[in-house]
Homo-oligomer: 152 residues x 2
């Protein structure tokens, strides 16, 4: 099979500086952070402003068309070990090893991570989000609106 090249479109800016600071995979966080998009992709953000959470709060609604205030930020976990096929879940040595595809470990053949976050504001190419567990400097590869219907 053919290989493909990922060209990051932005970067995470966070007070979380070290992988040891980051919440373990599977843990929820209220951490606020910025997603700084390369200005070359500014046009691609057009329309995302309607996804900003009303009054900074996510809305839980039964209509999938209603603004949930959530977006999915897809990152590349550049510190991951791509050759590991098994891990101890949540880095707990006492738990038996499992295949990485049955875990949310950063270690996996293609270390793509999903972050469903609340979009608090957009200032030109800078998105302020809540619920981001990626550390400072993590490359961002894509941004999508979250759909309760498709993703929930």
């Amino acid at each position: 099979m053919e290989d493909y090249v990922i060209r990051p479109i932005g970067v995470v800016r966070s007070v979380l500086k070290d992988p040891a600071d980051a919440p373990k995979q599977g843990a929820l966080t209220e951490q606020e952070a910025e997603v700084v998009v390369d200005p070359a992709y500014l046009a691609a953000l057009d329309g995302l402003e309607r996804r900003v959470a009303p009054a900074g709060e996510a809305v839980s609604g039964d209509s999938p068309r209603r603004n949930s205030g959530k977006i999915i930020v897809i990152c590349w976990m550049h510190g991951a070990d791509r050759d590991r096929l098994k891990v101890h879940p949540r880095d707990q040595e006492e738990l038996p090893e499992r295949g990485v595809f049955s875990t949310r470990s950063p270690h996996r053949p293609n270390p793509v991570s999903l972050h469903t976050v609340t979009l608090l504001s957009i200032d030109r190419n800078v998105l302020r989000v809540r619920g981001m567990d990626a550390i400072d400097g993590t490359p961002v590869v894509d941004i999508k609106p979250h759909s309760p219907e498709l993703d929930g």
Copy 2:
């Protein structure tokens, strides 16, 4: 920013052969398909069997630890136009163009797609899933357990 290389870990096998056959982005589907994982990654599937939906049906439970029967299959939409920053939502010409990051269009700088599907069965390296809108031959780059808490 540095580039990264995606090495597909599998491929989608589906009766959907043509992009025109695929449901428009944002549409739900009950389409069944297979995710054929490269046998080199067999060990990485270990533990995923506990994610198989009971009796082939997804369980809706309030406990995030309960098996929802859902996994997230991440694909690379190899037919996408990576240079398009704006699209007509759902390919409807009468809708005004919007930035690709505010849509689920396949056309985007890094054409990674998310498919939250029901895992029906696993036979060695072949996963049978329901709700897959990717066409036959689409490269698969990652598989993760779905978490209602993280992804919902």
